[in-house]
Amino acid sequence: MNKHFIPFLCCCILLLMVSCIDDIKPNFDSSLLTGKWQEGTLYERYKSDGTGYTWDVADDVQESEAQPFTWTLEYDELTQIHEMEMGGVVPKTYTVTTLNNSAFVYHDNYGVTHSFVKVVE
């Protein structure tokens, strides 16, 4: 039994380490998110009060006509809740990979990535 105990213990430690590694997430500073971000014709603006809005000028939508959402950023998980006028909600969750003063990159669970650059604080 002893000769099996050492390998078993190593495996357990390894498994625990792997679990710990999985639980370690990047913790992005949400204050960096506030501002106006642009990806081509797509814009998103995040405000410090947890609200924001998005618009795409390719569809002839101006900032004043942008659609609102609420957002939270916990670690690297960005959640946008798009509340519809008609009564439903559309939640969107993304994983942030980059967030700094000039760049903001996130992707969803289906591999769709968005890369924004900050245009206005």
């Binding site: 797509l42 618009w55 795409d56 390719a58 569809d59 002839d60 939508v61 006509e65 659609q67 809740i81 798009h82 509340e83 519809m84 006028e85 008609m86 009564g87 439903g88 909600v89 559309v90 939640p91 969107k92 969750t93 289906y110 769709v112």
Partner: protein, 1040 residues
């Protein structure tokens, strides 16, 4: 015989014999011409201051005793004066006088048996200082020196024969520039005088008389120039007290010429003046028969006249038939000028005047004129008057005038007939107050050629008339009232029959009818109690065609119009009209619109009130057929319309200006629209439109298998227009049966029909986008209730809800229904924020619906949830989706948001190729029943991404969790995790690629612990939270 007597007789005879011998000696020795002539010449010279020479004086005493006579031969009176026409004042060839000496001595009667003056020439001259050449008697230089009245030396005078032969007189007065000449004057007078009564029979003739008077200027101008080649006067009558004249007078003048101040009044014309049985006493003149004749123009007078301070006349007069065109030739130029200035260019015809002048002429401060009564007969008349655009011919008139200059003067027109080149006029009646207001009471009958009379239309009217107007009318009013058409004062009634009437206005509006009758009446007897009616016109017409700019054609048949107007002439700013109209048929073609209206009738009125114009209309018509191009056809069986309006010109908006109050009702309308196989039937519509409020009381529509009723109210229209308030309204839409399939078919047909117009060859012309824009300021609610509707093959019941227009947004709110398949609730919103940014969204709930019916009802759901078609059974479906649209209604996908939830129990999984593949991969038992106990699907739509949140499927002994995404391009990325199964392993399947032909492969089980709370990690927990959030948010809007 006694001796003494014999002696006496012998003695007397001897004395007589001696006396005779003595007289004979006296006559033949002493009173011989040779002895007496020098004596007389010598004695005459003592009494005159000029040379008088009598060649021979022959005195006869006994030759014709008791007549004695004296004869003077070659008497000459010579008195030369400077500038006189002749030194000889008078030269007489023979003067013979025979009187009855016995009567003179015995009865103191002067009987002139014979008085002859012949071959005399007299030259009378008066110089510039008034010194006359006939002032030849010594001691007679001052004619006024002897003013004593001389008594008549005779008891009677009897002129048996006084004869002047060949008397020539010349008279020149330089002080007055008068030059007169009489040639070959012959005068015969017989008469007597006794007791201041003179009987006289006078005949005077002269071959030539002339008189000329010149002005006293450097270049003398003629004042009077008169002459005649033959002049005669006959008088037979008596004169009493040298004042009272009675008798007959005739004056004849041949080749009379008269010029006054260079104006020629007579030119070699014949003048005759004959008066019989006239009397004149210095003040009064009576004449029973007086004829004045100028050439062929005569006037007969009979009556009396007196002259004192005033002139009294009572005289009948009558002319012969005067031919005016000849009369015009002899009228003086001054009169012709007056006539010409009056605008009369030519006058022809014959005229007869007769009448009476009776009254006093007074020139005092009061003044008066005699009354003139005259009958005028005018025939074959012709007048060219500049005031008329045409000549008047064939004038026949008979009129009587009583002209009282001080009071009322009346002209009674028995008839006045005249023709213009194309018209006939007949006037009869009476004109009073001729010299003042000319009050006419006339009856007019005329056949008027309108083209001839159109010049009387105002120039700015730009109208043209053709046709005939038969007029029969009575008119009463002053001439000013008639010419100014003062409707408030005129009295007029009559008929006007138009034939072949053709009127154009402004070169664009034409009206034409073969016959039209207008009955006019002024003042109007109509009593609409809306305004003071001044004129009534009853208009009836057969066929009336109106053409507007060759584009709009209106044909009316059987027109009856009873029209009453106010005095629109003097009150043109406030015209009031009221009329009843009744038309058998109206056909109108306006552009591509053709309308047939049968028996339109009603009442229309417009009148001012409190500074505003009031319009009122009641309209009825039996039926209307209308065609609009090839697109629309409509037939309406009955229309009733009652409309009132107060026009307020101060308002700027048309609705506020007109402020209408309308009650509209029509029945049984059928409308056909091209491309639609079903007519739109409107069994009834009844609505009221009052200021600020539009109320549809009742309306019914049937379109194919669909019927509906619409009723309700719109209010605050006025505030909405003024932009001071919302347009508010609420209406009910109620349908017994609605065939949605048919409606969609109709809509599709309409869309296809419309787009056909914008496709040219193979290129699609981009139509200018014109999306529906909901005006702001409107708060309108439409309550809908459809008892039964057919959607696909499904019947749904109690479809109800509200459609709201609110401040620029269209909301279809909580529209619900029930059917054997489901209960439905729909809320939809359309809010155009700008033309290329149109918000639209729906919140849709289907409860207890068969999935198959759901897909049938909403085929597009298959796109959102492709797997749904793999299930069968009852489910709940909740959907909220919203997006902004472009102006052409294309979706702006960047704005697309949506969430849906589907819940079902006891669902059957239909056999399909995909399911077979999955079941093989997951090693489903072949005996596994393809029945799902429950399903709860939540999904979201974000832009072009459709995310399916993990949901559990329980099938027999299997539990599987499905999640994934597919995009609107139909690519997909799904995962199925088999969480419970008889197998010892947890398997998963990935489904990727095109949804129609997906790539399916085994994959790690991703959701083994999703529904094991104790083993669930944070990610799975969050997903369930989001899933719950989606479902709760959707279901929150479900109405119980």
């Amino acid at each position: 015989m006694k001796k003494s007597i014999k002696i006496i007789l012998i003695t007397l005879a001897a004395i007589l014999g001696l006396l005779i011998i003595a007289v004979c000696i006296l006559l033949f020795v002493i009173l011989t011409p040779s002895k007496i002539t020098p004596i007389v010449n010598e004695q005459v010279a003592k009494y005159v201051n000029c040379d008088v020479n009598i060649e021979k004086i022959d005195l006869t005493l006994f030759h014709d005793f008791p007549k004695i006579s004296i004869q003077l031969s070659d008497v000459q009176v010579i008195n030369p004066m400077q500038n006189s026409q002749n030194d000889t004042l008078a030269k007489v060839g023979n003067i013979y006088l025979s009187v009855n000496i016995r009567e003179f001595l015995k009865n103191k009667s002067l009987i002139i048996n014979d008085c002859l003056l012949e071959n005399a020439t007299v030259n009378v001259f008066s110089d510039e200082n008034g010194i006359d050449n006939y002032d030849i008697f010594i001691g007679n230089s001052s004619p006024d020196s002897d003013t004593t009245q001389s008594a008549m030396p005779f008891n009677s005078i009897n002129l048996k024969k006084v004869c002047f032969k060949n008397l020539n007189v010349s008279y020149i007065d330089l002080s007055t520039n008068l030059d007169a000449l009489v040639k070959n004057l012959n005068l015969d007078i017989k008469g007597s005088m006794k007791d201041d009564v003179i009987d006289c029979d006078l005949t005077l003739k002269s071959d030539f008389v002339s008189c000329k008077m010149l002005t006293d200027s450097v270049i003398p101008q003629e004042i009077i120039n008169a002459s005649t080649e033959g002049f005669s006067i006959f008088f037979n009558g008596n004169i009493k007290d040298f004042n009272d004249i009675k008798g007959d007078v005739a004056v004849g003048i041949l080749d009379a010429c008269l010029g006054v101040q260079s104006v020629e009044y007579l030119n070699n014309q014949k003048l005759d003046f004959k008066v019989t049985a006239f009397s004149f006493n210095g003040e009064n003149a009576n004449f029973e028969d007086a004829d004045f004749t100028l050439d062929d123009y005569s006037i007969n007078l009979a009556g009396e006249a007196s002259i004192s301070d005033d002139i009294f006349v009572n005289c009948d007069f009558a002319t012969n038939h005067w031919v005016l065109e000849e009369l015009m030739k002899i009228l003086p130029s001054t009169i012709l000028k007056i006539i010409d200035d009056a605008g009369v260019k030519k006058v022809e015809g014959g005229i007869i005047l007769s009448g009476n002048v009776n009254g006093v002429y007074s020139n005092d401060s009061v003044g008066s004129m005699p009354v003139i009564s005259v009958d005028v007969k005018y025939d074959n008349g012709f007048v060219n008057y500049s005031g008329l655009p045409f000549v008047l011919s064939d004038i026949e008139t008979d009129l009587h005038a009583d002209l009282d200059f001080g009071k009322n003067s009346v002209v009674n027109i028995k008839y006045f007939d005249a023709n213009t080149p194309k018209s006939k006029i007949n006037i009869a009646g009476e004109v009073e107050d001729v010299f003042n207001k000319l009050f006419c009471n006339l009856k007019l009958n005329a056949d008027i050629n309108l083209q001839e009379f159109q010049v009387f239309l105002p120039d700015d009217m730009n109208a043209e008339m053709r046709g005939i107007a038969g007029i029969s009318a009575n008119v009463k009013g002053t001439l000013d009232q008639i010419t100014n058409v003062e409707l408030s004062k005129l009295k007029l009634n009559g008929d006007v029959d138009f034939r072949d009437l053709f009127v154009t206005y402004n070169d664009s509006i034409c009206a034409q009818t073969a016959a039209m009758k207008i009955k006019l009446e002024v003042p109007s007897k109509a009593d609409y109690q809306l305004f003071k009616e001044a004129l009534t016109a009853d208009i009836s017409s057969g066929k009336l065609n109106i053409n507007i700019a060759d584009v709009q054609k209106i044909d009316l048949d059987g027109v009856k119009l009873n029209l009453a107007t106010s005095d629109f002439i003097t009150q043109s700013d406030n015209i009031a009209i009221a009329c009843n109209f009744d038309v058998s048929k109206l056909v109108a073609d306006i552009d591509t619109i053709s309308v047939n209206i049968y028996h339109p009738d009603g009442v229309f009125s417009m009148y001012p009130q409190d500074g505003k114009m009031i319009y009122e209309c009641t309209y009825n018509s039996d039926s209307i057929n209308a065609v609009v191009g090839e697109e629309y056809r409509a037939a309406i069986s009955l229309i009733n319309l009652v409309a009132n309006s107060q026009y307020d010109e101060k308002q700027k908006n048309m609705l506020l200006q007109w402020n209408p109050d309308v009650n509209f009702n029509f029945n049984n309308a059928v409308i056909h629209v091209a491309g639609i196989d079903y007519p739109v039937e409107v069994p009834k519509i009844r609505f009221d439109f009052v200021p600020g409020k539009f109320y549809i009381e009742e309306s019914k529509f049937v379109v194919g298998n669909t019927d509906f009723q619409l009723s309700g109210t719109l209010h605050n229209l006025d505030k909405f227009v003024k932009k001071t308030g919302l347009l508010e309204g609420e209406m009910d839409f109620i349908s017994d049966h609605a065939d949605v399939n048919q409606i969609m078919e109709i809509m599709t047909s309409l869309a296809g029909h419309d787009t056909s117009n914008v496709v040219v060859s193979q290129d699609t012309v981009k139509k200018e986008d014109n999306p529906l824009m909901i005006p702001a300021g409107i708060d309108f609610t439409l309550n809908t209730l459809v008892n039964q509707a057919v959607v696909g093959e499904s019947y749904i019941n109690d479809l109800g809800g509200t459609i709201t227009l609110k401040d620029g947004t269209l909301i279809m709110e909580e529209l619900g229904f029930t059917s054997k398949a489901a209960r439905m609730q729909l809320t939809a919103m359309y809010r155009p924020e700008r033309k290329n940014h149109l918000f639209t969204g729906i919140d849709f709930h289907l409860l207890d619906i068969e999935i198959k019916d759901l897909i049938d009802m909403i085929p597009d759901i298959d796109t959102l949830v492709p797997m749904l078609k793999s299930f069968d059974g009852k489910a709940e479906f909740h959907l909220a989706v919203e997006t902004y649209l472009k102006s052409n209604y294309d979706i702006k996908f960047s704005t697309l948001r949506g969430a849906a939830a589907i819940e079902g129990q006891d669902l059957v999984v239909l056999d399909s190729e995909t399911f077979d593949k999955i079941s093989k991969l997951l090693m489903f038992n072949k005996k596994t029943e393809n029945k799902i106990d429950s399903i709860s699907v939540e999904m979201t739509v974000f832009r072009n991404e459709i995310d399916l949140y993990p949901f559990l499927i329980v099938m027999d002994k299997y539990k599987a969790v499905v999640s994934g995404r597919h995009n609107l391009d139909m690519s997909c990325n799904y995962h199925i995790s088999l969480t419970d199964c008889p197998l010892p392993v947890r398997l998963g399947v990935n489904i990727e690629g095109n949804i129609q032909h997906p790539h399916i492969e085994l994959a790690p089980c991703r959701y083994a612990n999703l529904y094991r709370p104790e083993k669930r990690n944070a990610v799975l927990t969050k997903q369930l939270e989001l899933k719950k959030m989606i479902g709760d948010a959707l279901k929150a809007n479900v109405k119980d």
